[in-house]
């Protein structure tokens, strides 16, 4: 979170402290000060009683005690003990520190000073206990009753929210709803996801290259949002009129989940643009299955080329790896494939290092359009220096099991074709009404409300969210945006449920990073450009920190350390070994 965001969170927390609680606490402090102050005044009859202190200390201490002692602290005796502790701290802060300091005396916290202030210590301890008891009394019978355990432990929910999608956006929203529940804004949340884990997609290419274990870049949803009701199901349909979400039958029968507010965070799926053969013969890199299948497929090609294949043309097809799309996913995929193949080549003595061929097909003149042209060129230069070929200003026009066809008439013989050149919103989005933008994403306003639908919200890759910062500009579908959108959406839904106005989402992209394989990366953060080893270190540090869950961070870190000292595993884990990468749909 940005510094401004942190401050906003702190301010929100301060505002969340019920002013009434503090006010009643202050009154309790004043009431408790009457007998204690009278005793102190009688005791110090020969000396002056500090009137300003007598007026200021009790309400401040009372408010602090009321805030610091939650209704969870049941019983008179326990809360009186808590009051004793607060009284002691009040004595330390006021009588031993602030009071002498304000009088211009030297602060020494000596036992002589303490002995001098001993009567006040007794008074402060008594005042703390008495105040705490009065606060407890107010909670039991008086105006603070609403904040007692009975209300806190089983609060009525403000509404039912169903979140569809367990990606960055959906889980981030669910996490925020949990935080809101801690602030006594209880909302009944159900999270529906077809997978029971949150996939950290920025590291997917490293799974495909065998540098990381698949399970290590995926955090269980149940661990991430432990207090949210989770359904590991697929959504079959949404009835926005009756406000029902239908969960598709599977191991369990079909189920209808009612909602007051629906959050769609279903992400995107590969879009093959209707190109002949592409959907059938291209591999994708969207989920863990894709990544492990790609790794297994590449290793199988190496196995066959090394030991079986006598035909030079077929051998060349087996050792040619084509990636379509020069965005982040494509550039990282081709770089990681290069690392994988050359990293394991010593195990395949029948393949010479100059045999494997890597080709990146991209429709523009520069790869990585998300970066500045200079960094894009840098990335291309680094990849080209390793021997990766670029077919720029060319588009894939079709594919067969043995070749990729380009729109300039060229063909690339290959048995490995990775498609990263297009995405579209999940098919579920198409079945939902409301206004759809070009590409099929749900059009929303800047508060995430889907245009044309009541109480339906959309975030993440499946939504087209306008950026209030400029006309006709929209937030890009990246993880950093999805995370912020999820949190902001939860706040907005909570606001609407409480009868308040939702806020526009405003977020300035922090930066973009792309890994270019072995010890190289390119990054652009707040306008500052980084490249090479420093950028690679930055990439690893930032994404390691962003990985959900400490446990996964440790595991990924260990994977990286192991990758430094041990060779990559060439075990093919797939039980069946198809000779060509036909997609199983």
């Amino acid at each position: 979170m940005s510094g401004a965001g942190e401050w906003a969170a702190v301010l929100a927390k301060v505002r969340a402290v019920p002013a009434g609680l503090a006010a009643w606490g202050a009154l309790a402090g004043i009431a408790a000060a009457v007998p204690v102050g009278a005793l102190l005044a009688l005791h110090q009859a020969s000396g002056p009683v500090d009137l300003p202190v007598l007026l200021a200390y009790p309400p401040v201490m009372g408010a602090l005690i009321a805030i610091a002692t939650a209704p969870r602290l049941r019983g008179r005796v326990p809360i009186a003990s808590a009051g004793l502790v607060m009284g002691l701290l009040g004595w330390l802060v006021w009588s031993l520190t602030l009071d002498p300091w304000l009088r211009g005396e030297r602060l020494d916290w000596s036992i002589v000073s303490a002995a001098h202030a001993y009567p006040v210590l007794v008074a402060d301890l008594a005042h703390g206990s008495l105040t705490a008891l009065l606060v407890q009394l107010l909670r039991a019978i008086g105006p603070l009753r609403a904040g007692t355990d009975a209300a806190k432990d089983s609060p009525a929910t403000l509404g039912r929210v169903v979140i569809v999608g367990s990606g960055f956006a959906g889980v981030s929203a669910a996490k925020r709803f949990e935080r809101l529940a801690l602030r006594n804004i209880p909302i009944d949340v159900t999270l529906v996801g077809s997978s029971n884990f949150l996939l950290f997609t920025p590291m997917l290419a490293e799974v495909a290259s065998g540098a990381l274990e698949p399970a290590h870049i995926s955090a269980p949803v149940r661990a991430s949002v432990a207090h949210t009701r989770f359904r590991n199901r697929t959504v079959a349909a949404v009835d926005t009129d009756r406000k029902l979400v239908e969960l598709a039958p599977g191991a369990a029968p079909a189920e209808w989940v009612p909602y007051d507010h629906l959050v769609l965070a279903v992400g995107s799926v590969p879009h093959f643009l209707g190109l002949p053969g592409v959907e059938d013969f291209a591999m994708t890199l969207k989920d863990l299955h894709d990544a492990t299948a790609l790794r297994d497929h590449v290793l199988e090609q190496l196995e066959q080329a090394d030991s079986v294949e006598p035909d030079p043309a077929e051998r060349a097809r087996m050792l040619t790896f084509v990636v379509a799309g020069g965005g982040f996913a494509g550039a990282e995929a081709v770089a990681e494939l290069f690392d994988l193949v050359h990293g394991v080549l010593p195990f395949f003595p029948g393949i010479t290092p100059d045999e494997p061929r890597f080709v990146l097909v991209h429709s523009r003149e520069h790869i990585l359009p998300e970066l500045s042209a200079a960094l894009g060129d840098y990335a291309m230069q680094r990849l080209r220096a390793r021997g990766i070929e670029f077919r720029l200003t060319a588009r894939v026009s079709g594919a067969t099991p043995v070749e990729v066809r380009l729109d300039d008439g060229g063909t690339i013989p290959t048995r490995t074709f990775v498609w990263t050149a297009g995405n579209r919103p999940s098919p579920l989005v198409r079945s939902i009404g409301g206004e759809h933008a070009r590409g099929g994403a749900l059009a929303t306003d800047s508060c995430f409300r889907v245009t044309g639908l009541e109480d339906v919200w959309a975030i993440g890759d499946c939504a087209r969210i306008p950026d209030p910062g400029g006309p006709d500009t929209f937030y890009p579908p990246t993880a950093q945006h999805a995370l912020r959108e999820g949190a902001a959406l939860a706040d907005n839904v909570a606001s609407v449920l409480r009868g308040r106005t939702p806020r526009e989402f405003r977020f300035r992209t922090i930066g973009v990073l792309v890994a270019l394989g072995h010890r190289t990366a390119a990054a652009e953060i707040r306008g500052h450009r980084f490249s090479g080893f420093a950028a690679w270190m930055m990439w690893r540090a930032i994404y390691l920190a962003k990985l959900p869950g400490v446990e996964k961070r440790v595991r990924v870190l260990l994977d990286w350390v192991i990758d430094l000292v041990l060779p990559r595993d060439i075990v093919v884990t797939r039980s069946e070994s198809p000779t060509r990468p036909e997609r199983v749909r």
Partner: protein, 476 residues
């Protein structure tokens, strides 16, 4: 013939029954005290703070004992179970009555003003001891009458206590050596005895290592109280046994006793956990979450909270120029080096707090309570013991040392409060233990809340009221 339905503890009479039981227990202990006073084996000021051996004064003592016992019974009610819990609440009750009775109500009635100044407080030291013992004994007798004492410990538990006591005493004896002429030959038998008694009070009350450490520190105070106030009386020390002079002289043994108690509790808890880890094969009886899943986050929170606490402590350190002394730990003398060492230590202690007190606070005040207690422990263990050892200075536990170390005590308390408060705020942000998602979890949370509320507030109160005010009384 049908048997009557079993009566649970919750249904053995209402407040009247508890008040009557408490009054009976109070009367019995009152008679014991009065007999001791009449036989001149107890100070005559022990119970009410006022001298007098006339029949009227004796009757007044007994009436006070009955009234105090009845009120204690009312406060304890049915909620408190277990010998250790009863003793802790009894001690706190006695300490509170010392403030309320001999220092406030009685002087108010006699001379129209409370007696809160240090000289009056020091004069009432015998009644503090008397009321502490009265409270503990009355609470125990109340528990016996209500049949809510802990069941007798198992042999294994007693053996664990003995090992913990001997081990703690041995380590202390080795570390402390001949601390300031304080001959510590008594530590080993005292450790063995205290170790054997620990399971009798706390053997069946399972608690975490952090609360156990605070409980042990308080147990150490109780052991010191017995050693300095009960044993001399039993040996015929007479009415002078609880005088300020005797107590001031005995103050030198207070820190070793506190450390002994803390050591016993820690080793006892760890031995128990080790036994479970080695010999319990039913995973449902063990902790369900592995340390790796929470440890790193807790460590980070502890380091951050410790850093904040260290910065708060810095104010005191600057004022009393202690950075030079701290720097000597690493063989330097520059204040800057001392500041760095101070912050590193603050973070290390913060991390240890996170490990020991993770998920033990349930609101800000409880975080402050644990933090203050932990800060106090580190004053005894760190400032009074480790710092002299690490800087090559002689160990001193006498009244003068308490006097010298008082600014550091203030700093440690401020540090502990900041540490506990900040750590609670950080921990509360994510998945607090009381935020449950199922009925089962809610029941577990309720059990934990009941456990915490059973002893924790008594521990905070005792540390604040007794152990913290004692240095002022002795050294002031």
């Amino acid at each position: 013939m049908t048997s009557a339905p079993a009566r649970t503890r919750e249904h053995r009479g209402g407040p009247t029954r508890t008040v009557l039981t408490g009054a009976g227990a109070g009367l019995a202990i009152g008679v014991l005290f009065t007999a001791g006073m009449l036989a001149d084996t107890l100070p005559v000021t022990a119970l009410t703070g006022y001298a007098g051996s006339s029949p009227l004064a004796t009757a007044a003592q007994l009436v006070a004992a009955v009234a105090l016992g009845g009120l204690l019974g009312l406060l304890l009610g049915e909620r408190v179970t277990g010998s250790g819990e009863l003793v802790l609440w009894g001690l706190l009750y006695g300490a509170c009555w010392w403030f309320l009775g001999p220092l406030t109500l009685l002087p108010l009635a006699r001379q129209g003003s409370a007696a809160w100044d240090l000289s009056a407080v020091q004069a009432q030291l015998p009644s503090l001891f008397g009321l502490l013992l009265y409270g503990a004994l009355t609470a125990l007798l109340y528990g016996a009458l209500r049949r809510c004492l802990s069941p007798g410990p198992r042999w294994g538990s007693l053996a664990r206590g003995l090992v913990a006591g001997l081990l703690s005493a041995l380590v202390l004896q080795l570390v402390l050596g001949d601390a300031g002429g304080l001959h510590l030959g008594w530590l080993l038998p005292a450790g063995a005895l205290a170790g054997l008694c620990y399971p009798l009070l706390f053997g069946t009350h399972k608690t975490g290592a952090g609360p156990g450490l605070v409980q042990g520190t308080t147990y150490g105070f109780l052991a010191w109280l017995v050693a300095i106030a009960v044993v001399p009386v039993l040996l015929g020390g007479g009415g002078a046994a609880w005088s300020r002079a005797v107590v001031t002289e005995g103050a030198a043994t207070l820190p070793p006793y506190l450390l002994l108690g803390a050591g016993i509790a820690l080793v006892f808890t760890w031995l128990e956990s080790l036994g479970e880890w080695l010999f319990v094969d039913d995973i449902t009886k063990l902790r369900s979450t592995s340390p790796g899943s929470w440890g790193i986050r807790a460590t980070g929170y502890g380091a951050a909270a410790g850093l904040v606490g260290g910065l708060v402590f810095t104010v005191v350190m600057l004022a009393v120029n202690e950075f030079g002394q701290v720097a000597r730990i690493i063989g330097m003398s520059a204040p800057v080096a001392g500041f760095v060492v101070h912050l590193v230590i603050a973070q290390l202690i913060g991390i240890s707090y996170a490990v020991l007190f993770r998920r033990r606070s349930f609101d800000l005040s409880s975080g402050l309570g644990w933090g203050v207690c932990y800060g106090f422990f580190w004053w005894v263990f760190g400032n009074m013991t480790l710092l002299p050892l690490l800087t090559g200075e002689p160990l001193r536990f006498d009244a003068a040392a308490l006097d010298l170390g008082f600014p550091s005590l203030v700093g440690h308390l401020a540090y502990g409060a900041a540490l506990g408060g900040i750590y609670f705020q950080l921990e509360e942000r994510i998945d607090p233990w009381w935020f449950t998602r199922s009925t089962l979890e809610a029941q577990q949370a309720e059990r934990r809340r009941t456990e915490l509320l059973g002893t924790a507030p008594a521990l905070w109160g005792l540390i604040v009221v007794v152990v913290l005010t004692l240095p002022v009384i002795i050294g002031g």
